[in-house]
Structure formats: structure tokens, C-alpha cells
Symmetry: C3
Subunit: 362 residues, 3 copies
Amino acid sequence: MSINGRLPEEITAMLNAAGSRRAFLRNSAVTALAAGALAGCKAGGQQTQAKTPNDSDHSGGTTAPNPIAATPAAAAEEMDRMHEAGIKAFPAKTEGKGNQVLAPRMDKDVKVFDITASKIQWEVEPGRKVEAWVYNGQVPGPQIRVREGDRVRINLKNELPESTAMHFHGLEVPNDQDGVPFITQPPVKPGASHTYEFVVPNAGSHMYHSHHNAAKQVGLGMLGAFIVEPKQPRPIEKADVDYVMILNDGMHGYTLNGKGFPATEPIVAKLGQKVRVRYMNEGMMIHPMHLHGMHMTVIDKDGWPQPAPWKCDTLNIAPGERWDVIINCNNPGVWAFHCHILPHAESPHGMFGMVTALIVEK
Amino acid sequence: MSINGRLPEEITAMLNAAGSRRAFLRNSAVTALAAGALAGCKAGGQQTQAKTPNDSDHSGGTTAPNPIAATPAAAAEEMDRMHEAGIKAFPAKTEGKGNQVLAPRMDKDVKVFDITASKIQWEVEPGRKVEAWVYNGQVPGPQIRVREGDRVRINLKNELPESTAMHFHGLEVPNDQDGVPFITQPPVKPGASHTYEFVVPNAGSHMYHSHHNAAKQVGLGMLGAFIVEPKQPRPIEKADVDYVMILNDGMHGYTLNGKGFPATEPIVAKLGQKVRVRYMNEGMMIHPMHLHGMHMTVIDKDGWPQPAPWKCDTLNIAPGERWDVIINCNNPGVWAFHCHILPHAESPHGMFGMVTALIVEK
Amino acid sequence: MSINGRLPEEITAMLNAAGSRRAFLRNSAVTALAAGALAGCKAGGQQTQAKTPNDSDHSGGTTAPNPIAATPAAAAEEMDRMHEAGIKAFPAKTEGKGNQVLAPRMDKDVKVFDITASKIQWEVEPGRKVEAWVYNGQVPGPQIRVREGDRVRINLKNELPESTAMHFHGLEVPNDQDGVPFITQPPVKPGASHTYEFVVPNAGSHMYHSHHNAAKQVGLGMLGAFIVEPKQPRPIEKADVDYVMILNDGMHGYTLNGKGFPATEPIVAKLGQKVRVRYMNEGMMIHPMHLHGMHMTVIDKDGWPQPAPWKCDTLNIAPGERWDVIINCNNPGVWAFHCHILPHAESPHGMFGMVTALIVEK
């Protein structure tokens, strides 16, 4: 598994290099916890004493705490330990990776995508496997990426125990390719196949997903990105990193691209680069995504250019919406990037769910 | 009951004409279901075999399924049967129609609207009747449609068992006409009447509703559209069809204009026409409304022009908000149109709640 | 406690002066209630008969009701009595006031803010005290208000039983001042202190809050406004009244600046003045804030100028978002101002939670 072309081990190294204080802290916290636990009912458990490094531009420091009761202190240390363990584990390895670009095979001038719907076990976080209904064995399904005006054919094979259909959310296809059972086509029965074919009509960040028993089928993973590159990109949409982020909150919990923190994937860019994030919400709730350290310039809504791009650091994404933003990576460091509905991102056991990081390398 | 001037029977005919495959499917599904049920524990229940019609621009096909176990197949068929039954029933007849334009009577130069609040039974979907607190016997209440600068008088008669008051949401009326008990007026007691009168100050898509014990009273149906046509319409707001769509999610379930699918009303337009949809949310949740097949151009927010109209296919509408959009009907067919919080639109029993269709006739 | 420089008593007087009908009503309601209760099972309990005052521009009237059954009438009267009692009590005195501007002390050219996190009891509404985790003894924490380019130092002292950290939400600070434990700094242990220092990088309406076990810590009150005034204000952002409104919906219930109605604070302006409201959502839900009587012009999102200001009367504010609006106070009176998710603002017992008023004095 690679992350923007990097191995998870490299990311971990970067995170650790972000401060030797991390390693230090880890050790001292473990020590403190042990000391606190051993101290039993005695007051004055061992406390951490840490100092953040200063630089010429700013200073910070953590001074020694007053002694407090051992038991609450031990509880506090245990909480910190769990928080740290989560962050240490990031990006955690799990089985399966979603949203992988699917190269089409060509049938003359038609780009053909073969997609099979089936039922699998999906590892959302290390050790947590869930039932998933998926396209080509991954959540989100494979990323389809074509160009405005391309002719595409999608061969959908249904290996699920119930009927399904595929809707191209945001694409202005002819009506009989719209994928709504009993309105535009018959349902695709278990074991059956169905072919969709159309000329890609409009550029932008779109989606494909089930439109049959969809609250269940999409909730279980039958969704993916359908990116249409424009014939003539606008200058504002040129980016060094093009990242699709699909939000979900169904039966798999709170996820970004099918994984919950710490199994989410960091976005990595170099100082001065531009990152395009294509947010897509396939869940049932809003998710106001908040980026630390830098703002986002909103350029597209549902694949359509905003008449005047605008800036924000927290972007509210509702179910079915897509929003494209450009981040000018001018602030180096490891930046938290998460849903700002805090119970979607953090518990007393640490960060989880809709949390990742944008890493800007010097 | 007419829908944009058409009878429900005509709509049903259009839906059926949308493909003889619909009738075919229906028959084959019923056959299959019966076969599956009869097959009992035997493997290889009868399966449907359907082919979507192709046109010169695209092709699609459903091929024969592999034999699968009879019992899950029967369950799958039963699910499909329920889904199809819902769509076949659309637009379903129910008693009562809300949001009917109320012609004023003139008292000299004053447009007078007589509105009585009372308690009734309201049929949300075929056979499902609920207690409703209503204006003039309908949910939503009658549509008030006047012109900027008109002098209007609303005679509110309260036949409910509790006090009420009427607020003109979005209209910048003088304070003592604002309808907030104990701040701008006394409550209107059971059996009492109250008169509101003002010169209509600002154009746009507004609402009227109870502002007393409102979580209950609005939830039960005391709400309606208050449309103010501008003295000088902008070119962008000219439309062939002007449709008010009031979203609700209170005690009556998920509704569009007081009805749940399949009793919702399709919007009908001819190819090349423009449809204006005036979304209004009188509920307690957001509803990101998604239109298939065509995009929407957002022109107004809360009755105020957006400085630069922008495009989308999924528009998030929060409680109290109004958003006006223009749809350029350039893609013929029957298009699903629904809230994209999927549990507001579909269950294993089929589509329900916040679902309707935009029908673009060739 | 002063409200925009006025005593609560003065506000109450204004509200009462808004109509002698208020006092009249109060008396008659009590009489009616007593009559209704005394009437027992007899039909025809005493009813109120009220008349709203007319002015030359509009007229309104409440006519005599028909007799109705005494017991439902008594229930209706009791409901009205509770509603009135809430409004009469507004703005209710409670112990503690949040969001008070904290004057910095200067250390050479550095603006220093000393902030202590501790656990207290906080009075949300008259008589309802809750556990709160707070900065400097108030909810929201003290308002930090500095200027773009200022050098600031925040000395955070942690007197809580668990670790914490401070994040400057929206400020593009250097990474090691970002306040995310185990990513940019060690957690600040119970009893410990930590210093943040940076040059304020970007103007606008920002926030500071805990970023450690934040679903709990922010939910309990560890949040505040961090306002950065620009070096060169734009003409559109000049206002006579500058009001920060922090929305919350955590363990303290539905609050505006840490208080629920009737303990919320009205905004007071004179006719013709401009009010800037800086909305900030520190909760877990959206809150579409609705102002009666006048519209709002949206000028900033998350501290960044909107390229083209736009108008609305209901503004949907998601967790983590900040929206700045300008209200041109051209309509005199006491105007309800509330979240339009009605169960966040009203119950059968009257208004509560996210309700306040904008008072425009002639």
C-alpha cells in the first residue's frame, strides 16, 4: 500500500521526526502510567514533565505540575496513553484499500470498466472487520477516472444475494442509463449482469453508487468516485496532488475512504505544492471537515465551478454533495484534518473515525 | 386533483410509457416471485431475464443470472416486488391536497386572506392518516401569492384547542405584525381571531407558520408558502413552471408538500422549458435534495438574489431556509428527485418519504 | 452585568414598553386561568379578549372567542402562562457571564493572556447549574481580541483532573503552536502549564478550544472566541455593535454564549445602526439561526471575506464554522432571534435554549 507514492513506514518516520518529543513523551507516559498504577491509593503519582522545543519565531513550555491524587492521575495518564497509542499507530496497516484507480480496458474507442458487486469482510480499523457489500472487493469501490466526452461502458455483475442497480450521481446521462429500478431499468437480479454505456457528458467530481435498497447497499459500501477530467482545465484547478476523500457514516462507522483513524491515509505534499481535495459525502449526516494550519479555497460544487472561489477552513459537506477545494501548502508540518463534529473524531479513548492528516514536507 | 394541469392518470400513463419494460418487468417479477415461493427449498427458482432497450447513443443489457438458492432468491424477489409496487403506485391518490393557491378577496385595495386553523385527519400516504393541525384544511396551508407592495390582510381564526399566532417568516413586516406571542402580540386564544395587515415589503420565497408552541404546531402542519412576486422580475427568474416544494420531517414523517412517496406530486415540464423550484424547509433536519439527470442553478437564498448564481445537483436545505433554483429541462425522461439522506427516501420496502420525480416530456 | 452597556432592568423595561398589552395580557391570562380552573367541568370558562394596537400602517385585532370546554381551556391557558413567564423573565439574571473581553498584559511588545482551565459549576439558566470545564471561570472562555500581526503569548495553566491542550481554530500558526497532543506537542498534564506564542497570522473570527479529549472538554465549556482585527478593515465590515455569538449544544443543553433562554443576552442597537454578528458553532449539530424583521448580509466565512456578500434571514452554521454577518437595523422593535430547529428553541413550556432578541430602538 502506498500513500501518494510513499510507504506507510516513511509516513511513520515523518510523524516521529516531527519531534523527538514524541518518542520521549511516549516513554515518560508509559513510565508515569506504571508509576501511577503502582502507587495505588497514594497521592503524588509520578508526573510527566515535558518541554516543547522553541524556535526563533515562537516559544512554548510545559512546567512541572503540582502533585495530585494518584488515582485520578492514573486515569488521566491512561487516557493520554490511549490517545498517544492511536496517533503512534497512524497510518495503521489494514487489509484492503479502497478508491484505487481502475484502468479501463479499451474496446475500440470505448473505455470499459468491469465491476462486480459482492459481499466481503472489510477491515475498517486494525482488527475490526465488518460485512461489506462492495464493488471489486474494495470500499470505496474503484475510482473511475475518465475525460469529458469519453465513451464509457460499465459492465456490472451482481454477485450479491439481492438485486441492485448503479446510478451515476451527478452525471447527466440519458435517462435509461440513470440506474433507478422500475423507473429507468429493471433491477439487476442476483447473479445477473447489466451494462451501462454513455458518452461522459459533464466534467467534475461525481460518484457512482447503488440506487436500489440504497440506504442499506450504499451504507454497506456500494459507492465510488467517478471523476471526469475536463477537456480544458481551468488554471485554478491545477494541483500537484489530486485527492478524493469520500466521507461515510453508515454501518461501518465514521470513515474516510472506507477506513477509520488510525487506518486512514494521510495526504502528503511538499511545501509550496497545491493539493486538490475532492470531498464526497456518501453518508447520512453532514460532516464539516476542518483543516488545521491552512485554509482551503472552494472551487467546485458538485462538479460545477463556483462563480467566485471562496476561502474557509471548515467546509460543511452534506450527503450527496461534492465540494472541490485547493489547498496552497505553505505551512510545513503534520496538520490534523478531521470532521469537526467532535464525536465523529475523538472519544476518551483517543482519536478515531473521521481523522487524517495533511503532511506538508519542508 | 391536477398536477401542473395534468391528471394523475396521465402521469401514470407517462410513467408506464417510459418503457414497456416496466409492464413486462412487473409481470415477470410477479411470475418469478410466485415461482420462487412455490419452489420452496429447491434451488434454481425462476429468475427474471430482462433487456433494457438501447438507443443510438448508448446500450445496456441484463443477462441471465446463475441459478441461486430459492429462499434468498424469493426474499430478493419480494424486496423487488415491494419496490416496484411503490413506483407503480406513484403518483398515488390520497385525500386532501396542500399548498393550493388561495385567491384573495379584495377589500378596496387590500388583498384579504381568510385562514382558519383547525385540527383534522390528514392522509399522508394511501391509507396512513395522521392528526394534523392545519390552515384551511390542508398541509401545507394554502399558498399565499402576492406582489411586492401589495397591501394584505390575513384574518386568522383559531379553532384549535390551544393558542396560536402567525409569523411571516422572511417578510420584513412592522414589529407588531411579526406574530410572536408576548413579544409582539398576545397569543390568539382558542376560539379567537386575529388580524394581520401590512404592505408586503420584500419579494421572494417566504413562509408563514405558527410561532407559538411551534415545535408542535408547525410539526403538525401549521405552515405554508408566502410567495411575493417582485415588481420587476430579473430575466434569470423567468420560468415555465413555478413549483413550491416544502420539506418536512415532523410528526407526519418525511414529506414533500405534506405527502410521502408514492403520494408525492411529480413536477412535469416539456423539453426545453425552465422549472423554478422554491425549496422551503419547515422541518427539524437538513435535507440535501438531489435531482437526477440535470443540474440546478441556484438563484435566490431566503428570497434574496445570490450575487452570482451557481450550479449544483444536490442542494442542502436547512430548517427555515428557502432556496430558489432554475432547472433547464434539457434531458427528457422521468428523473428521480429526492432527499439524499437515503433513510429519508428508501427502505427495504421501497422508496418512501422525500421522493418525487421531474418528468421532462419530449 | 451589562448588555451592550445597558442594565438588564432597562432591557426588561423596553420589553414591557413594547406594549402595555403585555402587562394587560399577563393579568387577564392569570384571571382566565383561575376562572378556568375554578370552572371545573363547566363549559365556557372565562376567555381573554385582547386587541393589538393599530398604527397608521397596518391594523390587527383579536376578537372574542367562542366558549369552549373549561378543562382544555385551562390547559391552553397554563401553556400560555408558561410561555409568557419565560418571556417576562428575559433577560434573566444568572451567575457568571462568558465571552468577556480579556485585556492582555504587555510584556514588551507581546500581548500576554493568562488562561487557567478549571472545573466549576455554571448557571446555564436561572437555577440550573451544571458541571463546566472552563477557561478563567466562564463559558465561553474570555474573548481574546487582537490585531493582525500582533505577537501574542497564551499561558495556559491546567487545573483540571485530566490533560488538555489549546488549539487556535482558524489561525494559521506554526505547526508546533497548533495544540494537538502527540502530533504537535505533549499534552498539558493536570497541574502543568504550557505557553503558546506566535505572531497573529490572519484576520477574522476565530476560536480557541481544547483539542484533547475534545468531545468532552469542548462539550463542557473549554472554548472561546479569538477575534483578529484586520490591519485595514474593509468598509463593509464597519459596524456600531460587534457581537460574538457562540452556539453550543453539548452537555449544557442548547446555549448562546453559554446561557439558555431566558438567560441569554439580547443585542441592542439604535435605529439606523449596523450590527455585526460573528457566529461560531462549538457544538455537534447544525444551527440555522433565524433573525426576524431584518435580513443579514453575509460578509465572512471562517474569517475570510466572501467574494460577493449575500443576503439571507436564516443562516445555517455547522460545527467549527464561523460566519460574519452585518445587520442594517432599519426596522424598530424587539425581534426574536433563534435557531430554526424548533425543538432547540421552544417546548410546550415556552421558549428555551437558542433564543435571544435583537432590540432596535427608535
